[in-house]
Amino acid sequence: MSLNALADPPPALMDAAAMDYFTIELVNTLRESSAVAIARTKKIEQEMADAGLLPPPAPPSTAAKRDSARDSMTSTPKLESSSKQGLSDEEEALRQRLEAIGMHVGANTAERLCHDRALFTDTLDAIKFICKELWVACWDKQVDNLRTNHRGVYVLQDNTFKPVTRISSWEGRQDALRRARIYVAMSGGIIRGALARLGFQAAVVPEISSLPQCTFQVKLPKGS
């Protein structure tokens, strides 16, 4: 028994409140750093445009929907998709970073959880692994509800999703919802990264309609 314990030591623990504070500050820090990165990119684009190496930046698209009053100075092509979702450039940059961090966490966590077993061949088995073991490792419980259309789309529902259970905002419910939606970008990334490490390329879209419930739509390629 002791050999097993050496090979697979129980994970180190830390205080959950400290982790919560860390997560809050993580988002704030990334919001600032992504603004810095965007500003630098725009400056370079402007310099190249001034030097005649690039066409001038496109004027802001008036048809783009925004759910915040914030203006974006230019609409760079790679961030165009964000305007369709109603996110400003800055919010989209933040969302991308959170998702990327989540993917790193998910991939490594899945790898550690699966290190002593064969790869999943069946999509459903991989999804069930996510719903049970990955969820427990990250969020201390299993998914409450799993639905599928049997054509590669799965919907994972957690009625008391840990990362958002403690979100409250003195500004009110709408603001709490908005903040929760930002945080779960990382959770979506965790799921996506885990599936990727297991060999499944998926698109994961988190959705919150009422706290503390959260659903994740997982879309796997045709033929899954």
Binding site: A16, M19, E25, T29, S33, I101, H104, A137, M186
Partner: protein, 208 residues
């Protein structure tokens, strides 16, 4: 040599850790933090700036952690800066991260000119202690590339901010900096905490 007081803090730290209602997987913390540092390096392209951002992040966390800590530990004001070091090491880090860095106390600087402060000062500015980390949960999966080593990155700089933020809320202005890190090939991982000054308690506006 563990004085009775030191042992008492060790016990208190362990008790608080055991009593913490909710615990979470520290590996998630390590993985998240590592990815964050990588992202910050990409965004700022400047290791000094990344150090600053990590410290600032820690500062904000520390200012909140201290309230939680004071509520749980029921500790009163520390008698002197030595005691601050013991508490930070044995109770603070233990109760949140379940690690126990060892603490070595720096010598007290020679007594300054007669103090004009209205309150007696338990330690002269310049007093310090050093925390030595045998284990660092953040660094578990980490190897720093050459560039980061040369660029002066202090990977775990968030700890310095946490210490500074927490102590500022209890009226101590300190400087907390890394002096060595095994991630950089040093023999040990050490943070030195130096007292800059005591802060006067703020009187609420309107009180005369």
């Amino acid at each position: 040599m563990a004085t009775p007081a030191a042992k008492q803090y060790k016990t208190l730290g362990e008790e608080i850790w055991k009593g913490r209602a909710e615990k979470t997987n520290a590996e998630l913390f390590a993985l998240t933090y590592g990815a964050l540092v990588v992202q910050l390096i990409q965004d700022y392209e400047d290791y000094e700036e990344v150090n600053k951002q990590l410290e600032k992040m820690g500062y904000n966390i520390g200012t909140r952690l201290i309230e939680d800590f004071l509520a749980r530990s029921n500790l009163g004001r520390c008698a002197d800066f030595r005691e601050v070091g013991e508490v930070v090491a044995k109770v603070g880090f233990k109760s949140f991260l379940n690690i126990s860095p060892t603490v070595t106390h720096g010598g007290q600087p020679p007594a300054a000119s007669p103090t004009r402060a209205s309150t007696p000062q338990p330690a002269a500015p310049g007093s310090s202690f050093t925390l030595t980390f045998d284990e660092n949960p953040l660094a578990e999966f980490v190897e720093l590339p050459e560039e980061a080593l040369e660029g002066g990155l202090w990977f775990s700089n968030i700890y310095c901010g946490v210490i500074r933020g927490a102590l500022e809320m209890v009226q101590m202005q300190v400087q907390a900096t890394f002096i060595s890190d095994v991630l950089r090939g040093d023999e040990s991982t050490e943070i030195r905490v130096t007292l800059s000054k005591y802060l006067e308690e703020e009187v609420p506006v309107g009180d005369d």
